[in-house]
Symmetry: C2
Subunit: 266 residues, 2 copies
């Protein structure tokens, strides 16, 4: 008897932004393996399933990718219906492929329930659609996270019709800012940092390519954050800011420094 694994996208961090099918999969599962990153805790309450934390954060026990793969195989081979819950969408930097290939190698059936990616929903909550007629007809998404020994970012050369989204941009801000300038992005092109997007704790900092890293440091932007680069950022200020979010300048811990910064640029 073999079980199976359903990969489920939890959405961007609000429990109501999981799909109907994803919620049903959680309710029917025997066991749920979840990450901390981006998964709303409310999604895991009141379920009959056994919960197994497999995240790589917060100083808790850290499992390697190989250990996670082996765990999924073992649980399914015990005949269990397993849900592998991931933040956002499993196919957008979610490593669903690695885990699913491990299952396929053992002949274990799997399904993938897509989720709302934070890459698209966090900008929308900040009043920034990634495309807009006459402004942008395309977008590019890349990770700004770098592992040891890696160099560079997959940032395309500047095209005024393409919006760029970078995930995990906080620690590498000076490096990707330099990469943008090298690839022809104008210094005055707007940049928005969206922290905890699509949740009640959403914060937004609007800056420019030329000032992004310094502004993010001054406003003490922390993860989870993504950054949106392009002319669509300007739509937020032209009427599309609808979420009652906190401007990062309003809630920075050192208002004096930030006031000085704002005055200097006014």
């Amino acid at each position: 008897m073999k079980g199976m694994v359903r990969f489920v996208g939890a959405g961007p961090g609000d429990p109501d932004l999981i799909t109907v099918r994803g919620l049903r999969a959680l309710q029917e599962a025997d066991v749920i393996c979840y990450d901390a990153l981006g998964v709303a805790p409310e999604l895991l309450e009141g379920l009959r399933a056994e919960l197994i934390y497999v995240g790589k954060r917060c100083g808790r026990h850290s499992r390697s990718q190989e250990e996670i793969n082996a765990l999924l195989v073992e649980l399914a081979q015990r005949g269990l219906e397993v849900v592998r819950l991931k933040g956002g969408d499993p196919g957008v930097l979610g490593r669903v492929g690695e885990e699913a290939l491990a299952l396929a190698a053992e002949g274990i059936p799997f399904e993938i329930v897509p989720g709302v990616s934070s890459a698209t929903s966090a900008p929308l909550s900040a009043g920034i659609p990634l495309t807009h007629r006459g402004v942008a007809d395309s977008f590019a998404l890349a990770t700004a996270h770098r592992r040891k020994g890696e160099e560079g970012f997959s940032i395309p050369p500047y095209n005024e019709r393409t919006t760029v989204v970078l995930l995990m941009p906080v620690r590498t801000a000076r490096a990707w800012q330099a990469a943008l300038l090298r690839r022809g992005y104008p210094r005055e092109l707007p940049v928005a940092f969206v922290s905890r997007g699509a949740t009640p704790a959403q914060r937004v900092l609007v800056s420019t390519v030329g000032a992004a890293a310094a502004d993010a440091e001054a406003a003490r932007i922390t993860a989870p954050t993504l950054v949106v680069i392009g002319r669509v950022v300007g739509l937020r200020g032209r009427g599309l800011r609808w979420w009652n979010d906190r401007d990062a300048r309003e809630c920075a811990e050192e208002p004096t420094r930030v006031d000085v910064l704002a005055e200097a640029r006014a």
Copy 2:
């Protein structure tokens, strides 16, 4: 008394792939303005809301964007709770910005409920994650639809670590194929056409940059379809094909031509 408008992403075409919040918005709405494109008909059954079709397809009455904007304003000003239902995600080529700016100009409150974009979920259903460690760390999404007088596509120069997704690629296949070759994409790089992705009618055709347009014509690929370009397409054949979809070569209406094609390339 003023009403409000909720923009809701319906997801990629399967009724269970709407979000929990989106489904609730449909149930609570007074009136729902919907497109045909990508919205599962089951989502509109059994609701108390008045349903208004505002799509631009299928030979039915066609409303201009300005007429849709004016309709949303008028309904909200009558004090109604309006849902504007869109296929996929409202922020990915969904024109949410234009409609929301029209509401903002009249002081009408709006909310945006994101959806699962077909741009990410249709590839996953075809066994193709857009990113995969060691293969692709980024993706670019562009429309392949062109309006009268428009030239070119926002396709970035070739980067082996970037997957490219083109929406609405069927009618312009020869043009974007030429654009890919001009921008350095290798002729043998794999290309997947995914038709009606993430629905029971899903069909997939795997081809190459060099053969894409001819293969799509031979297999009679029709809209709605998107195309995925990049090395991640190869993962489908290496164990990630999990959906019981129909290979486009199996179900083409002219098997003889397709058999000849397959033999010629074998």
